[in-house]
């Protein structure tokens, strides 16, 4: 990890009333890499994601984006930085077609009227870039798409805006085998386009198939963070369930670059 991370979170604390959701969490997300964020239910994966996405505000700690300290207070702040999140519910409107969904909230307008031609061309280019080719027509309503296709459209919607970091929340949770493959392939393609990708998942098959780096949260603490090759299935499970691993003790403070090369 010679290069510097795109997003650097340092000492993040977040509590809801008396409940401490995140304690002194550090996280690094690198451009051109897929980072898998793992953890059991309630470990704080979603809270951390929502802090970065601007839905929650952090109580303590610092976020650095491209080396600069940033304050992300709203989803809009995150979008302006180039941070996009694809939530589990995908946030697609079933009654609108693919183009309309991809441009939702950012429609292109000419003389006061929607510039459908321009939007359709741009949406078509993005989908072709991501090789999302199984849809019959980009003018078909989203309700007519399969689960994997919907996920692809949601991801394409997220990367249309020169985004630099895309966070995928449980992207394969509702999908079958073939569609899961398709979505993971898509995550890899984003990485190949030079984006930083964070995949939240507790499906270890997916994690090991797609991740370049793995970060594990346990009860609101970051217990391990390193290259994927430094983990095996067993150690990740141990980190997720106990917060430590007997097999790979060196990972207990896996982010050795913590105060390192920056």
């Amino acid at each position: 990890m010679a290069e510097d991370s795109l997003l650097k979170a340092r000492g993040i604390d977040k509590h809801f009333g008396p409940v401490q959701a995140l304690t002194n969490v550090d996280l690094d997300l690198y451009a051109g890499q897929v980072t898998a964020l793992c953890g059991d239910n309630g470990a704080g994966k979603s809270v951390l994601t929502k802090c970065i996405a601007g839905i929650y505000q952090i109580d303590q700690g610092q976020l650095l984006f491209e080396g600069h300290p940033v304050h992300i207070r709203t989803p809009r702040d995150a979008a302006l930085l180039g941070i996009e999140t694809v939530y589990q519910d995908l946030a697609l409107a079933d009654n609108l077609d693919i183009v309309q969904n991809m441009f939702q909230g950012r429609e292109r307008v000419q003389n006061g009227f929607l510039d459908e031609d321009d939007m359709e061309r741009a949406a078509g280019r993005t989908l072709a870039d991501l090789r999302v080719t199984t849809v019959r027509s980009i003018r078909q309503p989203v309700r007519s798409l399969s689960g994997g296709q919907r996920q692809s459209v949601a991801v394409a919607k997220a990367v249309m805006w020169n985004s630099k970091l895309v966070m995928l929340d449980e992207p394969t949770a509702a999908l079958g085998v073939v569609q899961t493959k398709m979505v993971l392939e898509l995550a890899r393609r984003l990485r190949d386009h030079g984006l930083a990708v964070m995949v939240i998942s507790h499906n270890l098959n997916d994690v090991f198939e797609v991740a370049d780096r793995i970060a594990v949260l346990y009860l609101g603490r970051m217990v391990a963070q390193d290259r994927a090759s430094a983990f095996d299935r067993q150690s990740v499970v141990e980190y997720m369930t106990t917060g430590a691993s007997s097999r790979a003790a060196t990972h207990a403070d896996g982010n050795g670059e913590k105060h390192g090369e920056s």
């Binding site: 429609e107 031609d117 399969s146 689960g147």
Partner: protein, 443 residues
């Protein structure tokens, strides 16, 4: 999720495509007219019947009433013009209601809110009292309606009171408001539009005035050429740049249909309708309804505002996350609804030849919602078109007119209208349920 049974075979493009095929609107998937027709038929079989039930309903009504009305009077030119005049109020009110139905809300007050506007306008032009010019009176009346919509919309969006309750209160309040306004001046509650005053005359002619037959032909030609050129240029530009577009033959077919409808309507209207003397030409109410239809259709289909209305109706949470200002859009929809209600009730006042405390806004709103739903608009938001209001209004007007011709009492008119509504919506619901693909989300 409605499509829990979604096929897991997306890696195979052909399988995914065939599974999705039935839900793809035919005009985006077809390369030729023949393909379009078969895609259309497949879509109807799959349960998305679109405007077909309402068109069938109108066809049935036409055939039945033509068969049983005395001397086949139903399809006479005189009666068809009359039918359109009667339907116009339902059409316009339904077009207004569609704005809030698209959000999954409802506006029960549209009848009386519109009646307040109409009462204001009719009062203001009275030569015995305020003597306002007709245009100022209409603007004042419609502004009153827009204000009512803004107040109700604000209560609904900011205080989060359900629209059903706010507009139910509105129905009562504006009923009272209409009665209060009608009691102003020396008209004992019945300000009339009869008389020789030019301002009265303009309001009266909204419904009863006709355009000169020659001018009718010229106007219709201009409108058809305008719409036809627009359609043709737009579609062929999209075809040239490789965007999703209907086949040329379909575009031509659409233009031809519009032209045929225009020719038939003008030809019917240009038949002399008077028993003595001459009364011919397209009544002003037709271009008025067309203008409301055109403006609202462009607003809903071609602008950001319209796109946001559909987005909110489809998935409000997604719209919120996309940065759409839900409260503002929702409030404006209630404004548009009441404003359109004002246009509808102005037409109704013109039809009655004045305003009266007998105007039943409670019944009008039910017809408006019925017309929109019959036309294919969903009560649950996200699905609906302005066209649905026009078609549904025509069906309700047809029933009203046909039963009136038969001399059947009003109680039967209510019952038949209710039955037709149930049948039209049931056909839609049944065809959706029998469909293999998602239905719950689209009821």
């Amino acid at each position: 999720m409605a499509r829990a049974e979604a096929p897991e075979s997306a890696a195979d493009p052909t399988a995914a495509a065939s599974a999705a095929q039935l839900e793809v609107p035919p005009e985006i998937a077809a390369q030729s007219l023949r393909e379009w027709l078969s895609a259309w038929a497949a879509r109807i079989r799959s349960g998305d019947s679109g405007v077909l039930p309402v068109i069938l309903a109108f066809a049935v009504i036409t055939v039945v009433f033509q068969a049983i009305s005395p001397h086949g009077i139903f399809l006479s030119a005189n009666n068809l013009v009359n039918l359109f005049q009667q339907s116009a109020v339902f059409m316009v009110l339904a077009m207004g209601e569609i704005f809030v139905l698209l959000l999954g809300e409802i506006d029960l007050s549209i009848g009386y809110a519109g009646a307040v506007g109409a009462a204001v306008a009719v009062q203001l032009v009275q030569p015995a009292t305020t003597k306002w010019p007709w245009w100022a009176a209409i603007i004042a009346g419609l502004l009153a309606c827009a204000l009512i919509g803004a107040v109700q919309g604000t209560l609904i969006t900011r205080l989060r009171v359900p629209s059903l309750i706010v507009t139910l209160a509105g129905l009562l309040i504006w009923n009272g408001g209409m009665l209060l306004i009608l009691l102003l001046g020396p008209f004992s509650g019945y300000p009339s539009l009869a008389g020789n005053n030019p301002n009265l005359h303009v309001l009266y002619n909204l419904m009863w005035g006709s355009i000169d037959p020659v001018a009718s032909w010229i106007g219709a030609t201009v409108v058809v050429i305008g719409i036809g050129t627009g359609l043709w240029l737009g579609d062929s530009r999209r075809r040239r740049s490789g965007l999703v577009a209907p086949p040329a033959s379909l575009t031509l077919l659409k233009i031809t249909l519009i032209a045929i409808v225009a020719v038939v309507v003008v030809a019917i209207c240009n038949v002399n309708r008077a028993a003595f003397g001459t009364l011919a030409g397209v009544p002003w109410v037709i271009p008025i309804v067309l203008a409301v239809f055109g403006v609202w259709m462009v607003l809903l289909q071609r602008t950001r505002f319209g796109r946001y209305v559909y987005a909110i109706g489809g998935n409000p949470e997604a719209a919120r996350r996309a940065g759409i200002k839900l409260s503002a859009i929702r409030t404006w929809c209630f404004v548009a609804c009441s404003f359109t209600g004002g246009i509808g009730l102005l037409l109704y006042a013109s039809y009655l030849g004045g305003m009266s405390n007998n105007v039943n806004g409670g019944q009008l709103v039910l017809y408006a919602v019925a017309a929109a739903v019959m036309g294919g608009t969903s009560l649950f938001g996200g699905r609906g078109k302005v066209l649905h209001g026009v078609l549904g209004g025509l069906v309700i007007g047809g029933i009203y007119n046909g039963l009136y011709l038969l001399g059947i009492a009003v109680q039967w008119q209510f019952i038949v209208t209710g039955l037709v509504l149930i049948v039209a919506v049931s056909i839609d619901a049944l065809s959706r349920r029998s469909a293999t693909s998602g239905s719950a989300a689209r009821v």
